[in-house]
Subunit: 650 residues, 2 copies
């Protein structure tokens, strides 16, 4: 067992604090990414998996004494890795106590891997308390890191807001966003006064008015990234309706976050009132403080969206012309976001609000390049977001907090509010009933932003765990429902992706054949095995089609294909040929990648879709080379995917 080194320089952290922090960080990130990907596989939002990762690692499952027993090694291990840390009511950390038994034991957990004689554990309350306080350095760092993650997430959300689109949409956007805010807000606000206890309001907190305001805002906020993803999947992001939905959602979010900042100021004001009443020595009257905060908030928002936005737009080309690329802009964007965040935190509203407004001001400039945006988004969406959402799952006991009535009511009201509001808004703006209903469903997706909002309210004692859990469930459920519901209403089809039709058993690898006829036969045999159709039947149809006109594309790709009676879903068989097979292509090159495409006879559309998907997939030299070099299906699929430009949206 290692002792701390003799002289630690100022501010150094102990070996153990660093170990705990890095391990917790790594475990949280890895698990969150893994669960996120699993959710994605099942067509669910990534955020669902990320929260579940935290639920499994945290207070609900592995760290729950009720599940694994009070003195299970698991519980002790989780106490060590993800300590929960209580603060006294005044907000100051509790005093350090001398570390003795708990100390030694915790060390044992760490070093037990390299010790032959495993220690025996005893546990009493005192030990747990000691263990809790010892690792606060690492734990506070983790809290701060999660806070930073939230700041960065809101920066990305802000970057996606494009005010110029809003102006272009004009009246329709105004109506939809206005109605899409007012109705849900009224529903939420009313709910808080109608049945406060059912949805988990704590009467002792004496904060019913801010609580009602919060619930109203929570109902009226949307989730830009989720909506954008749904619209892209439905292939209607760039359509008129897509732009209308996006711009209405932007207005909703902007107003929603400004409103939420006000609510936080109000809560802080109430706290000051409480302090005053208790005779505390804090100077200044509570009402004045509140007004000052509101004033500063409005000044900040106004300033950032006018002067700040103009300044950023002016300064961006200078930065891009005179600094290293893209490092200069990257540093600039994060610096502005951080200082903005610190400013709002100092004003007395939350730091993420500053980051959001900074994002809006920066993202609005046409000088911000797609590459900068992409680098920021990739790192934040793939590293900070999983950590943040897993962190949420970690802290909250979702079993204890789950209340069916609260969940059901919040969910129904959340959907009804948005759908009704937006439906009438869109109708009055002149859209058809069908379109209006679709817009309502699209706007009802809440997603990640709702969860951040809820977490903040929970941290500030504005809501209880019961309502928080209901909000999380509502956010996820609405994100799940919105896409399919829009699809049904609009009778639209989702874009089909080539990857979805590829499989290990339909990967032929290197072909033995050297002629066109033999190659088609070789691929037909594989297709027959996986489709249940006869080899001769397939071979005949494809060859007849081939005789009509060669299916060789330029650059060494060939797509023999046919529509087959009796086939229920498309089949794509991939073959490689290093030697090349002559498919009589227009550029004279031999085909090195040969895709046999069979589609159901009755679905004319899917054939065209798949043919163009194949042409697109192999359009770059890199994709063709890597796909040809792949020695198995996994490598082939990896080569295909990593050479395609997808945008991973949350």
């Amino acid at each position: 067992m290692m002792l701390p080194l003799p002289t630690l320089a100022a501010g150094a952290l102990s070996y153990e604090q660093i170990t705990v922090f890095l391990l917790a960080f790594g475990v949280l990130l890895g698990t969150a990414r893994l669960f996120g990907e699993i959710a994605r596989k099942f067509g669910q939002p990534t955020v669902l998996g990320e929260i579940l990762a935290g639920v499994v690692l945290g207070a609900t499952v592995l760290g729950n004494p009720a599940i694994l027993g009070e003195d299970g090694v698991n519980v002790q291990f989780y106490e060590w890795l993800f300590p929960t840390y209580e603060l006294e009511a005044d907000g100051d950390p509790v005093e350090y106590i001398t570390l003795d038994q708990a100390d030694v034991e915790s060390d044992n957990i760490r070093s037990s891997a390299i010790e032959t004689d495993p220690p025996t554990y005893t546990l009493d309350e005192r030990d747990v308390a000691g263990a809790k306080q010892k690792y606060d350095g690492g734990f506070l760092s983790m809290s701060m890191f999660l806070n930073l993650a939230a700041v960065f997430l809101l920066l990305v959300a802000g970057l996606e807001v494009d005010l110029s689109i809003v102006w272009k949409q004009g009246k329709a956007a105004l109506w939809v966003s206005l109605m899409g805010m007012v109705v849900p807000f009224a529903f939420g606000f009313g709910l808080a006064y109608a049945i406060p206890e059912v949805i988990g309001y704590d009467p002792a907190s004496d904060l019913q008015f801010p609580f009602a305001l919060f619930l109203g805002i929570a109902m009226s906020i949307t989730a830009l990234p989720v909506i954008a993803k749904i619209l892209m999947d439905l292939n209607m992001f760039r359509s008129d309706m897509g732009m209308l939905i996006m711009s209405s959602a932007m207005v909703n979010d902007l107003l929603g976050w400004v409103g939420f900042a006000m609510v936080l100021a109000l809560v802080a004001g109430a706290a000051t009132v409480g302090a005053d009443a208790a005779g505390a020595a804090a100077g200044g009257s509570a009402t004045t403080d509140l007004l000052v905060t509101v004033g500063w908030t409005l000044l900040f928002v106004g300033g950032m969206l006018t002067v700040g936005r103009w300044l950023i737009h002016k300064v961006l080309p200078t930065i891009q012309a005179n600094t290293s690329w893209p490092g200069g802009v990257l540093g600039f964007v994060l610096t502005v976001a951080l200082i903005s965040a610190a400013a709002t935190e100092a004003i007395g509203i939350h730091s993420i609000f500053g980051a959001f407004i900074a994002g809006v001001a920066i993202g609005d400039s046409k000088h911000l390049r797609a590459k900068t945006r992409e680098t920021i988004e990739q790192f934040i969406n793939n590293i900070f977001a999983p950590l943040f959402f897993a962190g949420i799952g970690l802290r909250v006991n979702f079993i204890e907090g789950f209340d069916f009535a609260a969940v059901a009511i919040v969910l129904v009201i959340a959907i009804l509010g948005k759908v009704i509001g937006c439906y009438f808004g869109a109708l009055w703006a002149g859209l058809s009933k069908r379109e209006s209903a679709a817009i309502g469903m699209g706007m009802s997706a809440r997603g990640a932003m709702e969860i951040i909002l809820g977490q903040l309210a929970l941290n500030h004692g504005l809501i209880t765990e019961k309502l928080f859990v209901a909000i999380v469930v509502m956010a996820i459920a609405t994100s799940l429902i919105a896409g399919p519901a829009m699809q049904v209403i609009l009778r639209q089809k989702q874009k089909r992706r080539l990857e979805a039709f590829l499989s290990d058993k339909n990967f032929a690898g290197q072909l033995k054949s050297s002629t066109r006829k033999a190659a088609i036969r070789e691929l037909s045999e594989i297709a027959a095995a996986s489709s249940g159709l006869g080899v001769e039947q397939i071979n005949h149809e494809v060859w007849q089609r081939e005789l009509m006109m060669s299916t060789g594309l330029p650059h060494g790709v060939a797509v023999p294909h046919a529509r087959m009676a009796g086939l229920d879903k498309p089949i794509v068989v991939i073959g490689q040929s290093n030697a090349g097979v002559d498919f009589d292509s227009s550029d004279g090159q031999l085909a090195e990648i040969i895709c046999l495409i069979l589609t159901p006879e009755e679905d004319g559309e899917v054939q065209l879709e798949l043919l163009s998907a194949v042409a697109e997939a192999f359009s770059t030299e890199g994709a063709r080379r890597e796909c040809l070099e792949a020695v198995n299906f996994t490598e082939f699929k990896a080569a295909l995917i990593t050479n395609t430009d997808h945008h991973a949206a949350h």
Copy 2:
């Protein structure tokens, strides 16, 4: 003034802690990026500027009571924003004391922006101590964040190590890297015993053996990224000599970091000895502990570079085929690095070592795509690196720590050791004297890795501030010297970049002319004004050249040019033409971007270089469009740079 909110959830940080953290983060990042870019403008390494940013913000200048006075508001403000935090000898944080006056005053500093009546300040030692301890949440987070930055930096360094290149270089790489380690190590080790006091060894620490080992290793380590950058600038990265230097440096770094990990284990062992001697209750003998740590270290390195490397190589295609791209790989790489880092920290050596080895194991796989690498490197090099290096400058008082003798000796020995060792190594491997000397100079560049090594040794009490400052100066100086020295030895020229020849006064903007002849005259007038040559002379020469053969390139770019007697440096004048000017291009398109290029008569090479640079710069449609749309020089330059593929190396 805001009070903390009534009920803070477990682990919540106070408003002020968050404000301080975000503001410190933002100020540090912004200043570091700014100074880094300024350094870059003067052709210096970015890291120099980043450290300087910390020096200015930190203990050396703005936070130095000796400079701004004990009770200056500046000093108080810096105490608040970048607090220094003392730990007791046992490594546990000192106990909390009750916060009173200091508390209130610090709050005033924060809220003074929104208070009309500015508070008056008094300061005594107690207050400072109070202030120091209050913000430890934010401060510990910052320490942890800087630690994390170091972990990520070493991950990136590890990713750049490609062991397969090393094998391919064979004998030569072995000789150069071996001699390039042994000689500097001997020099450093000898120095530590010859004149320990001069270079700042503290005899009271009783650690002369590990101190000597450290100095030996510090002398033998190199800086891969710096060397790569130098080779790229000299246009010899892909040459035989470039690959030889790179692979030798990789071996050096690998062995150097393994050795350093051993030294840390030794120091930790020594600490245990001390603790044992003092009769402390820690179990296990010191020697056993040391052997256990060394054993685990070797097992870890061996395991990661064989089984780990193989596993990662196997699993990467699966991840890329089955997860979102590039998020899946990104998460995987960071998770492996973090858990690896936690593992080495638990073993008793430093976390950054684990990240480095993880980087080597991951970076070696050919399945890791360039895009993943780039996203990771961009975020880390542009966000974490500036923070880390500014953080170093922040803590150390460079004026107090600067000792001319120590700096001079360390610098001379560092250069001599590398040059002599590598020279003979390369000579024995069969290279020429000139090449051997160039390799020696190239290998002598130390850069960022040296500074991280030094900082770790400083934190662990192995070296004093005096030696640390000498090491930092040496690292920067060798990075500055290596490139120019190689250039002189090899008589090579640096690659010239188009941007270097562009300027505001040579930007013509939209041309009035609509014919080729008039356009050339219009551009010649601008060239005449800035070169001092006559308009007629320029116009005549360019037009004569144009008559010989048209200078219209495809896709709407034209490059009228001439070599001019009496010109001392090249001149490039840029003109845009929305209407287009007919330059008789092979594809029949009118020229929309017209670059007049004048070069000195005696330098035949630069003309060809500039012509090909122009062709390359406008080779993409995006670059041409954005350059044509630019309304001033800054926008034009920004368009040019952001459409070029530069790699920002450190």
